[in-house]
Each structure stands twice: as structure tokens, then as C-alpha cells.
Symmetry: C2
Subunit: 359 residues, 2 copies
């Protein structure tokens, strides 16, 4: 039993700008990991600018750019198209940002920017096919109705995907979540779902889709969402979710520290694990702060892009304990003990640590 | 035009414990003020301990204590009783805590701990009547299924009401919100709704209701939710919501500071106002940081316990502006410029200030 830290949090302080973002954007309460599908209202939310109010009677989705047959579709017309549903684990690219030091002033997630919903809509690929993507196309741009300023540039939130990614059959234009009409905060009337990718790609409040002959160079594409070690480093674009395992903090919490208290004797630890690169194949659990590890039992995954439940028997004695879990995926990616720092504070999938007092 | 501050936030810093609470508990994005009824998932949430998971097949509500006919009711039995709905503005007693200095380490709300939902359930008063409240009863205790430690005391979250308050006809045992089954985070399967009172009174995940012959002295009743000016001051209990007006921040935001940018020319400012003491009778708006005030136009209130929409025409010139609004209720309570400090960081209804750059 090794307890390296008296305190489950660090000692860094946070600015009022960061607090205002944390108060506004919603984290996933970790006890919610017990549900296969995250109940509406508990999924994480990162609202980059404001939630736009969309009057659907005047709304149409324009699909244009480098295509032979541009189309403009109402929500009813989109709903008349083939309908499909998919369960998808979603995570913000900035999850874990507050655990980097130094960190940029942005949404200071600790580890709660996750969720796992069932999205329903119509596949994107047949729509691109019908619009007639012309030779020379390289990317597809997705533009939202949310606008604001960042880096002194006013812009709508928009992100592109390489053409091959945009044509993947599992990409969805979603108009429902968990069987309900999309609520405003999840992108009403229509959002993009890109299973396996971090959240910034899943553009909400879609206004238009445009096929491009040159790579998109907008603010949210080039200035954001790259893992750079310095301002001079070109870095790598943030794309798919790296593996992560999260545990339901066992027992009961205290307030305000949220340290955990557990009764001595047998109990079951459980959690969920996911990766955007390949299905999770292994979850390991340590009950001594990472000195020794054991394999957890894995349930079947929830589809190809949903998370995978795991469980592990624990029979603790009274005292202080530090619980850790880590995931490995079928592509050979594992959660590292420590993630390489980057300027944007992205993709920090260092393992969650849960400090427990057993009584 | 007076701008007293370059910055809409203060310069204080926040601890990691406070950040963890802010990341976990959900604030109301202020642009959501446009909706009469707050869409599910956008209402504020303060989850004191963990969200309990309730298997409704084994759940019953016990009504006992100093009554002649104790009862135990399943959810189906509760749903067979008279059904009513009420729109209620809810606000956390700690709203505005982060704007006090010094402040206790607790949920560091800025001003976003609000919401306005429609709750459906069965009135409490007839149930108390049927249980037969006996002579000598003084209070009714509401106990939730959520447990934790605070002040080194392990306890279920529970709060009492004076008998007269508990017998008010508008108190509800709610099993639906906005026409849907209560989701876990709002208190499934049953929560108390006490229209007009701050959120700590609206006990979620109800386990039992007990009629008492002595005032309840539990931790959440005596150690919390009193406005004290020092540890020696007995203070006043926190009960009904003091008046507050909130404005939809106009224009578009920047990221990460969320300062507002508005185009020059006529626009409409709008917001909502409420009070738990009496209906709001007046909202004033200042576009010069509080130097001069004008009356806003008021829409009809949403029932007796819902908020009241207001609007005000504004025709700004380019430059920096500071917008403020304040509410007055029919009982003569107004929002003060500054609220008297208290040790718990409660009931800070000092006016919201919105800093705007007009271009």
C-alpha cells in the first residue's frame, strides 16, 4: 500500500476566467459510469461560444462546395432519409488539461469531460455520394451556427475532416440523443457524430457542409487542437481518442474534498474503458498506487465505438489506499503513467487516481 | 458611460477542491434565459454527495414520526394520487459565493446556479393529512438517500421545514420534470419541491418523511445554511430566495474570457427576474454601470413561483459599456448593490454585471 500524496488534488490555483468556464461547461459525475448509456443531462458539455437558438422552420442544411449537385435539406427531409443509431463514447480533447503544468487558460477539465450516449440520425456518406463529390476534393468542412471571437478572429465554429474520414460509413448527422430530439446544448437541430474522435470534431448546430479542394485553415483547425511541445513545433493534429479507463469512486464521499470512505471487507471496483483507435482489450487495476497491477474482468463492449465495462474484486483492510486503473487497446496503445506536455493542454490520458480511506 | 473594471471577473484564485466541485456541479448557461422552461440538462445542479442509484422495485417512501397512521408508498401508489404541475424558479443558496471575499471552500458559484423547470407530482399536504399529524408536531423532516461525510459527521442529506411551511398547498412530491421521469441527477424517483425556497430545501432521492415534535438539529440544518457574520453570530436561517434579475449577455462572446461583443445600433436587452418572497414588480436596467437606471418592460409572470421575463430597448454607440439589472418584489425587497458578507457564502444576490464592447 503506497500513498504518495495526502491529497487527491494538486496545489495549483485557478483563475476566475477558468472558474467561469468550469461553472458553465458540464462535467460528467463519475458515479454516472454505472449506466451503459449516460442519462440526458449528465453527459459532458463543452460549449465553445454560446448555445445558438435555432428556429427550425427557417433552418436548412446546405451541402455544397466541390460537388456536382449541391443540396439544401430541411430537418424533415433529413428525417425522411435512412435512420440509424450508434452508441458512442465522447471525450473532450481538453480532458485532463488542469493536470498539466503550466497549462493554457482554457476549460480546466480534471478528468470528467466524458459521456456515452446513443445518437440517432442519417449517415453522412450517402449524402456526400448524392451531392456528387468531384475529383480533386480533399476535405469536408462542417460549419456550426455558433459564433464568437478567439485569438482576435471572429468566426463560426467549424472543423474539417479528410475526405476518407468523412466517407466512413459510421459518421452520422444526428437529430436525436438517447431517443429524444436533440436538446439545444447538444446541437439542435443537427450535429455531426464522428465515432472514435475527440469531441471538437462532432460539430454541433450544423449550418453547412462544404467539400474542399484545399485543406481548411480556419482558427479551430490550425490554431487549436494540435499537440505541440513549443510554439515552433508543428506538432500533431488531435484526432482519435487515446485509451482511458475511469473507475466509479467507491464508497461515499466527503464534502467538499470528495475523498472516498469505504467499509473494510470485500467489494467490487468497476469502471469503463475506451479508445478511439481500436477496441479496448485490457484493463489493469492497481490498489497500491501503481506498484502492482492485476487484470480486471471485461464485459462485452457496447458496439464498436462505445465503452467497455470492467470490474475487479477488492478486499481492503482499514487504512489509506490509492486506486488506479489503465486501459490498453487492440492497436497497442496503453495509458502512460505520465503524458508528454503540450502547449494546448490536450489529450491528457494519464490514469485517474482515487484516494480511499477504508474504515 | 462608466466602466469601473477592465475585467468582468475578479483577480482571486481558486483551489483545486473548488475547481473539482465546479467541474462536477452544473451551471446554467446564461443564454438559456431565453427559454420559459429550462430544457432538461441546462438547469443548475448541486449534487451534495454522490447521485444515488435507486432501484425503484425496492423503493418505498415512508411517512412516519409523530403521526397516527404511518404509511409506506411505492412509486406507483404515489402516481395514483392527485397529480399536479408547477413551474418553479430554483436557485442554489450558494449562488454568488465566489464573489464574496473571503469565502468558504465550497461550490464556487459565480451567478449561474439557477433554473426554471416544470415539476409534476402529488401535493404533500393531503399526504400529511392522511397520515394524521398529531398534536405537538412542530416540523417535518425530509431525508434523502444520498450519504456522505461533512464536518467529520457521516449523514444522509436531510432537511426539515416548519409544519406550517410543509402544509402549504403548493409543496409537491415530484416524480417528473418537464414532462419526463425524473432523471437520476434531479432526484429519481421522488424529490421535494418547495416553491419560493432556495434549492437546499428541495430534498432529492427521498427516502422518508418524518413528523417531529422538536426542531431538527442535523448537520445540514444547524451547521449549514445560516447567514452568520461570525462564528459567534447565531445568524438567520436561509429560507426563501431573495430577488434577482439576470440578463442574457447580448451579442457574441470571446473565448476564453467570454467578454461580449455587440454591433452598434438598436437592440433589445432581455432577461428574467424572480423572488421567493413575492412576485417581482419591477426590474430596472442600467447601461452605464449603475449610474442611471430605467424601468424595463415586464411580461406576465410564469405562475406564482416562476420567473418573469423583462426586456429593454438599447441603442448603443461604439465603445465599452457595463450593463446591470436589478429586481424588486411585491414585498419590498430589492437587489442591493452589495450584499452583507456571511461566513457560509450564501444568498449573494448582488446584481450581475455584463461588460460589452460595442463595435
Amino acid at each position: 500500500m503506497a500513498v504518495e500524496s495526502e491529497h487527491q488534488y494538486g496545489t495549483e490555483e485557478f483563475s476566475q476566467v477558468e472558474l467561469a468556464l468550469a461553472a458553465r461547461n458540464h462535467g460528467f459525475p463519475l458515479e454516472t459510469l454505472r449506466y451503459d448509456i449516460t442519462p440526458l443531462g449528465l453527459h459532458y458539455l463543452l460549449i465553445h461560444f454560446d448555445i445558438p437558438h435555432v428556429d427550425v422552420t427557417g433552418w436548412k442544411l446546405d451541402i455544397g462546395g466541390h460537388v456536382s449537385r449541391p443540396v439544401s435539406l430541411s430537418l424533415d427531409e433529413i428525417k425522411e432519409r435512412p435512420r440509424t443509431s450508434i452508441a458512442v463514447t465522447l471525450e473532450c480533447a481538453g480532458n485532463g488539461r488542469s493536470r498539466y503544468s503550466p497549462r493554457p487558460i482554457s476549460q480546466p477539465w480534471i478528468e470528467e469531460a466524458i459521456g456515452h450516449a446513443e445518437w440517432t440520425g442519417t449517415p453522412l456518406a450517402p449524402l456526400l455520394e448524392e451531392a456528387g463529390v468531384e475529383d480533386g476534393a480533399v476535405e469536408v468542412l462542417f460549419t456550426g451556427l455558433d459564433r464568437g471571437l478567439q485569438g482576435e478572429v471572429e468566426h463560426a465554429y467549424e472543423r474539417s475532416l479528410p475526405l476518407d474520414e468523412a466517407r466512413r460509413p459510421e459518421l452520422l448527422l444526428a437529430y436525436e440523443v438517447n431517443g429524444q430530439t436533440l436538446p439545444p446544448q447538444h446541437g439542435f437541430p443537427l450535429r455531426l457524430i464522428v465515432p472514435g474522435w475527440y469531441g471538437m470534431t462532432h460539430v454541433k448546430w450544423l449550418d453547412s457542409i462544404s467539400v474542399l479542394t484545399e485543406p481548411f485553415e480556419g482558427f479551430q483547425q490550425l490554431q487549436q487542437y494540435w499537440t505541440k511541445t513549443s510554439d515552433d513545433d508543428p506538432g500533431e493534429p488531435v484526432t482519435r481518442m487515446f485509451p482511458r479507463s475511469m473507475m466509479i469512486p467507491p464508497g461515499i464521499p466527503d464534502f467538499p474534498e470528495r475523498r472516498r470512505y469505504v467499509e473494510a471487507g470485500p467489494c467490487e471496483l468497476e469502471g469503463r474503458a475506451w479508445s478511439g483507435w481500436a477496441p479496448v482489450t485490457r484493463v489493469e487495476v492497481s490498489v497500491d498506487g501503481g506498484e502492482t497491477w492485476e487484470d480486471a474482468a471485461l464485459d462485452e463492449p457496447v458496439g464498436d465505438y462505445g465503452w467497455r465495462r470492467w470490474s475487479h474484486a477488492w478486499d481492503p483492510e482499514a487504512g489509506e489506499h490509492e486506486l488506479v486503473s489503465r486501459a490498453t487497446d487492440g492497436a497497442g496503445n496503453s495509458q502512460p503513467d505520465e503524458v508528454a506536455w503540450n502547449t494546448g493542454g490536450y489529450v491528457n490520458n494519464a490514469p485517474q487516481r482515487v484516494f480511499v480511506t477504508v474504515r
